[in-house]
């Protein structure tokens, strides 16, 4: 990314940072959103004990936290701007389409990833406080590396999908609802798939260890992210936004 585009992205980030947290009730809403991951990152580690640091649930918490936050913030940033009649003026400025798009995605991505990492670190603190074993315990390497990566990639995927939904939806609220619904479908499908391909799945899982499985998931997500992001860049064009 050239310096010029970078400066443009930063201009949008400056505005988004102020906008996201200065809309009436936005801070309270953000605190409410923060409550769920922090609660989950408190209750589960207490119940699981030190096992928490070596199991899959921290990965799930990291992913879900970032997805939920992005699902609220991206529609607010794109559909919300159109709803408040400020988008056209922004598009009439010299800022390039890509700078506007990336600037609008950067703040939700940074906030959601930051919050999910905070929740994960907090869960490790809870384990150590409640189940102190004479030395500081931390996540196993796959979890320690996997949770930031998974959180970021899931946030990026949701953000890309959020662009499409925001371009179609009439309001930020509608976009957020559609996006949340769309996010719930893949986990529901994942529950059905193992039933259909139980034997094949079992055979496959027997051949890979946890790290390999995580790597496969991350690679698939990287590919999906790339596809969705490229499609979002192609879709986020002034003429289309004006006509929408």
């Amino acid at each position: 990314m050239s310096n010029e585009i970078f400066a443009d992205v930063l201009a949008i980030v400056w505005k988004e940072r102020k906008s996201q947290f200065r809309v009436r009730g936005s801070r309270m809403r953000f605190l409410m959103m923060l409550m769920s991951p922090i609660l989950l990152a408190t209750i589960f580690p207490i119940t699981w004990g030190p096992d928490w640091l070596a199991q899959v649930p921290p990965l799930v918490i990291a992913a879900i936290t970032s997805v939920i936050l992005v699902a609220v913030m991206v529609p607010e940033s794109i559909a919300g701007e159109r709803e408040r009649h400020t988008l056209e003026t922004l598009l009439a400025s010299r800022l390039p389409d890509r700078a506007i798009l990336f600037g609008k995605l950067l703040v939700p991505l940074a906030v959601s990833w930051g919050v999910s990492m905070l929740a994960i670190l907090w869960s490790a603190v809870v384990v150590n406080l409640v189940h102190w074993e004479g030395e500081i315990l931390f996540f196993t390497l796959p979890i320690a590396l996997g949770s930031p990566a998974l959180s970021f990639l899931m946030a990026l995927l949701t953000a890309g999908a959020g662009v499409f939904v925001s371009l179609k939806a009439a309001t930020a609220q509608e976009a957020s609802q559609i996006l949340t619904f769309a996010i719930l479908i893949p986990p529901m499908l994942l529950q059905i798939v193992p039933l259909l391909f139980r034997d094949q799945m079992r055979q496959f899982l027997d051949t890979v260890n946890g790290i390999q499985l995580l790597a496969i998931v991350l690679i698939v997500l990287v590919l999906l992210d790339a596809i969705v992001l490229l499609a979002a860049v192609a879709r986020f064009q002034r003429a289309r936004l004006i006509l929408n």
Binding site: W14, K15, S19, E88, L90, A92
Partner: protein, 311 residues
């Protein structure tokens, strides 16, 4: 030779099945205030969007500040200030932050330059004292002034204004008009504005174009348009201007147009002629005539006549 800020050549834009802009050709000289007049749905906003390169023309070409809107829209937007249909003010941000953001977007280089320019504009618009307020708490007039300040932030050679005084009270509208006139005179900025307000166009604009259903109906200095369209005119004050009376008037060969405007009957004549036969006709048709004046057509009269002719 006069420099041309905007050149439209057979500019056309379709929104199937509607043709919003239909073969528009005109030139706007640099440093002038150009009024773009037309009723609702005439294609004014679409034209502004085309000029900014926000929409692509279906046919024809628009060249703004020497740049083609199809291929060099980014160059145009860098050099243009815009106040569109909606003010585009971020209501939850302060006035200072609203301008601060666009100052960054337009790359006013240093923080001190940004602050100085923001202060200069807010002081000029009389908004400096309330710069920390959320813009959403301001009156519509103050917001519109802020939006105008935003359009001027980067000292653009061209500003495009879509009904800049719409919805403003009389003092606020007058203040905005004063600012625009001063801007064009002091900085040589070209102002392209759409308006419904004929008095505003008459006061501000050195050149106006009238469009209807996307087509150019007339163009020129307001005085030229009055001269072209408005021959001698008679204004009748009174009561009982019935449709029958108007129909009778319109049948007279010397009458070009007759319409009731603001409770007065305006009669456009083809040539200078005695008014007494017309008054007798009106009285005979049941009109109570209180006063008869001879006068010149205003731009509003010209506009209404043009709209009438187009029908």
């Amino acid at each position: 030779m006069t420099e041309i800020a905007i050149r439209l050549d057979n500019l056309t834009r379709d929104f199937e099945p509607v043709r919003a802009v239909d073969g528009l050709s005109l030139e706007v000289p640099a440093g002038t205030i150009f009024g773009f007049l037309g009723p609702n749905g005439a294609g004014k906003t679409t034209t502004i969007r085309l000029l900014l390169g926000l929409l692509e023309p279906t046919a024809g070409q628009a060249v703004v500040l020497g740049y083609d809107t199809r291929t060099q829209a980014q160059e145009i937007r860098s050099r243009t200030g815009a106040l569109l249909e909606h003010s585009g003010i971020y209501e939850h941000l302060s006035a200072e932050d609203n301008l601060g953001f666009y100052a960054r977007a337009y790359r006013l280089s240093s923080k001190s330059e940004r602050q100085a320019r923001v202060r200069e504009l807010l002081e000029h618009m009389g908004l400096w004292e309330r710069r920390k307020d959320q813009a959403g708490t301001w009156s519509k007039g103050m917001q519109q002034k802020l939006a105008l300040a935003r359009a001027l932030l980067h000292r653009p050679p061209l500003v495009l204004l879509d009904e800049p005084t719409a919805g403003l009270d009389v003092p606020s509208a007058a203040a905005v008009r004063e600012d625009l006139a001063e801007l064009a005179e002091r900085e040589g900025t070209t102002v392209f504005l759409t308006t419904h307000n004929m008095a505003e166009a008459e006061k501000l604009c050195s050149r106006v174009a009238v469009i209807r259903k996307g087509r150019l109906v007339a163009i020129g200095h307001p005085d030229e348009l009055r001269a072209q369209s408005g021959g001698p005119r008679v204004e009748v004050l009174g009561h009982g201007f019935s449709d029958e009376a108007l129909a009778l008037l319109r049948k007279r060969p010397e009458v070009a147009a007759a319409s009731v405007q603001n409770g007065h009957l305006a009669i456009d004549l083809r040539q200078e002629t005695a008014t007494s036969p017309l008054v007798s006709l009106l009285v005979g048709a049941g009109v109570q005539v209180e006063e008869v004046r001879r006068g010149k057509a205003s731009l509003e009269d010209v506009f209404l006549t043009l709209m009438e002719e187009e029908k």
